[in-house]
């Protein structure tokens, strides 16, 4: 039995878990092809016009899998912790996909609402296992292996690597440290982000993303806002930004967002106001399906040059 996993949205945050789990269940895992122009075009065609690019891409990746697999895995992410849920588009994702893609009749919809109790994740895994007629022990084993795999993935990030992009380590000696914040599905899709992170590393900077900041550190900044945001990824981004701003461990912050992203207009404005208060350079990059390579290059180069100059002036003043 073949199970197809679209390479979009929550994939980049949780793929080690999902892939390992289905593999250990004894299914053949087919991940959709890396994002390409065809996939993007297919997505734009199917999805509703004013959805954001990541959602359109998800439609494209589902189309890419059609006809190749027995099931297409479409998660309905409701919660992974107590405090927050996900963007409404994540909550309605299977419904959107079912209505927008006409010949999709083998959707494996899994509702993931594991924030309330610790064992919910296991119970969800068990339920999926039962769907494929796998026994308790097979499912349990797959669950454990999947957890290990996710742990390993998180660990790689903490070591300064970016596994989804194939970056294992970064040069610690880099002169400029950049905080690049944004959702995993924006940052780690090289086609969508126009390879932004690798470009920055190529310019000789050390890039820190939200995944590279330990959860414990982020938790410290949970009380910074009067009201916690409703979305898990947004909380992670905002807390990371607060961490950067409060400790001053980066020279500048780049926020990568999708055009028309709902939650991000709040996140972005808060970060912008806070960064202005603390006098830390801040750049917002909004991406959509029309964003051009060259325009982005120019902006990134200008930003990094500006940071370098600022540093030089500062160092000169110190001497």
């Amino acid at each position: 039995m073949k199970i197809g996993i679209p390479r979009a949205l929550a994939y980049y945050a949780y793929y080690p878990f999902v892939n390992t789990f289905f593999e250990k269940l004894g299914l053949e895992v087919v991940v959709s092809d890396p994002t390409s122009k065809e996939i993007m075009d297919a997505g734009v065609e199917d999805a509703v016009a004013d959805a954001c690019v990541p959602i359109k891409l998800f439609h494209g990746h589902v189309r890419n899998l059609l006809g190749r697999v027995d099931y297409v895995f479409v998660p309905r992410l409701v919660s992974v912790n107590r405090e927050a849920t996900f963007c409404p588009k994540f909550l309605g994702l299977p419904d959107m996909v079912a209505c927008s893609i006409t010949n999709l009749n083998n959707m494996l919809e899994v509702r993931i609402d594991i924030g309330k109790r610790k064992r919910e994740l296991f119970l969800t895994c068990l339920r999926v296992g039962r769907k494929f007629r796998k026994g308790f022990f097979t499912a349990y084993n797959a669950y454990l292996k999947a957890l290990m795999s996710l742990k390993n993935y998180t660990h790689q990030f903490l070591q300064g690597g970016i596994p989804p992009l194939g970056v294992l380590t970064q040069k610690k000696s880099a002169d400029i440290k950049l905080g690049v914040v944004g959702y995993p599905y924006m940052l780690y899709d090289p086609y969508l982000s126009l390879d932004l992170i690798k470009k920055l590393i190529g310019m000789g900077t050390y890039v820190i993303t939200p995944e590279m900041v330990p959860e414990k550190v982020k938790q410290k900044y949970a009380g910074k806002l009067k009201k916690t945001l409703f979305w898990t990824f947004s909380n992670s981004v905002l807390r990371t930004a607060f961490h950067f701003l409060e400790t001053g461990c980066v020279d500048g912050i780049i926020h990568v967002t999708a055009f028309g992203c709902g939650p991000d207009f709040i996140v972005d404005k808060i970060m912008e106001l806070e960064a202005r208060d603390r006098n830390i350079p801040y750049l917002t990059i909004a991406l959509d399906e029309h964003t051009g390579q060259e325009g982005l290059n120019t902006r990134l180069e200008a930003f990094v040059d500006m940071l370098r100059r600022k540093r030089k002036v500062k160092e000169a003043a110190m001497l």
């Binding site: 004013d50 909550l91 419904d95 959107m96 207009f265």
Partner: protein, 373 residues
């Protein structure tokens, strides 16, 4: 004394003014949003903020300029971002240098203590329990009356013989309600409203029926939706909207206290297409569209602010739902760039199509051209 202001919500603004005054506050009455309000809001709001955010921000700035020192608005529990608007509004306005206090009224279900604390801040006069009861009854009745006057105007506008008569009557009704001082006045006004509407000369036709669904602010506030209901009425269409302020307040403020989700039947109808609550009014939009279809409406118009997340989800589901129930569907996305004439053209075309479809169903042959030309 506190100088309180709040977002403008149609004619209910007057009711809130009375409520705030009765609780012992000074009120800076928010103005009806105009072009200037919107451009003020657009100037200081983030680019991707939705239309209601921008309008409300503009309204706040105007109110603060007029001397308000306290802003009152509602909160929410998400995942629709509107629940965070007060937080961001406060941050933006403070960064502009205004000094004020923001009071957020959270839904009682999850934040009862916060709600009580916020309400306490707004009560600046000693009132007995009987006073509260009287006040509550008055406000509730007034909200209901406003909705009633509006519902009647929608029903009668497509049938009127003299164009514009209904609009004038409706304005008169709103004025009458605004003048009411106590419950007895309201009861009298209710009778008068019915009389006034009865006096309008009516044609005997069966108008095209269109249901309006969508995000609550743009559905309720005519200044935000370019008076689409009036536009439809002038085209001879009976337009009914899915949401009214009184019932919405009731379900979300009172029933929430008892953990009873409102509008159960609507949610049940939407369930086969929309399996998860996704905040805002996405699921209600789908459910109400089905409800309209079942009641024999000809079409559904969905109003949504640009980038509104729940409505985007609903928008991808609605075409399929409307096709299954064989009912017309027109999505309208509103932002600060939307022009009234462009909207009118689209709405006219939509109405013409519905009329042609109805004729066809009745068995009349339609020869290429649209009816009425």
């Amino acid at each position: 004394m506190r100088k309180v202001s709040f977002p403008y919500v149609g004619n209910a603004t007057i009711t809130f003014q009375k409520l705030m005054k009765a609780l012992g506050n000074d009120v800076v009455l928010p103005k009806r949003p105009t072009e200037e309000t919107l451009s003020l809001g657009t100037k200081y709001a983030p680019e991707f903020a939705c239309l209601p955010f921008k309008i409300v921000l503009g309204t706040y700035i105007e109110a603060l300029e007029a001397g308000a020192d306290t802003l009152v608005s509602t909160g929410g529990v998400g995942p629709c971002r509107a629940g965070l608007y007060t937080t961001l509004h406060e941050k933006i306005l403070k960064s502009l240098g205004y000094e004020f206090e923001m009071i957020t009224l959270e839904p009682p279900g999850r934040h009862l203590r916060d709600l009580v604390a916020s309400i306490k801040k707004l009560v600046n006069r000693k009132l007995s329990i009987a006073d509260y009861f009287r006040l509550g009854r008055f406000v509730w009745k007034e909200l209901q009356l406003l909705d009633k006057a509006e519902k009647l105007s929608h029903k009668i506008r497509p049938l009127e013989v003299k164009k514009g008569e209904t609009t004038r009557t409706y304005k008169k009704c709103a004025e009458l309600i605004a003048k009411a001082q106590n419950y007895r006045d309201l009861v009298e006004i209710e009778r008068e409203i019915e009389l006034l509407y009865e006096k309008i000369e009516k044609k005997d036709v069966d108008p095209i029926k269109i249901g309006i669904v969508g995000e609550i602010y743009v559905v309720i506030e005519p200044a935000a939706n370019l008076e689409i209901e009036e536009m439809l009425g002038d085209l001879g269409v009976y337009a009914e909207r899915s949401m009214f302020l009184a019932s919405y307040t009731f379900y979300n403020a009172v029933m929430d206290l008892f953990r009873m989700p409102g509008e159960r039947d609507v949610k049940k109808l939407a369930a086969p297409y929309f399996k998860e609550m996704c905040g805002g009014h996405g699921r209600e939009s789908v459910g109400n569209a089905i409800l309209f279809a079942k009641r024999g409406f000809d079409g559904v118009i969905q109003l949504s602010p640009f980038t509104c997340i729940p409505e985007i989800v609903a928008k991808s589901i609605l075409p399929k739902v409307c096709a299954e129930y064989d009912i017309g569907f027109l999505p309208v996305t509103l932002d600060e760039q939307t022009g009234k004439e462009g909207l009118r053209t689209r709405v006219e075309a939509f109405v013409d199509l519905l009329a042609a479809k109805r004729k066809k169903r009745k068995g009349d042959v339609v020869y290429g051209t649209l009816p009425g030309y």
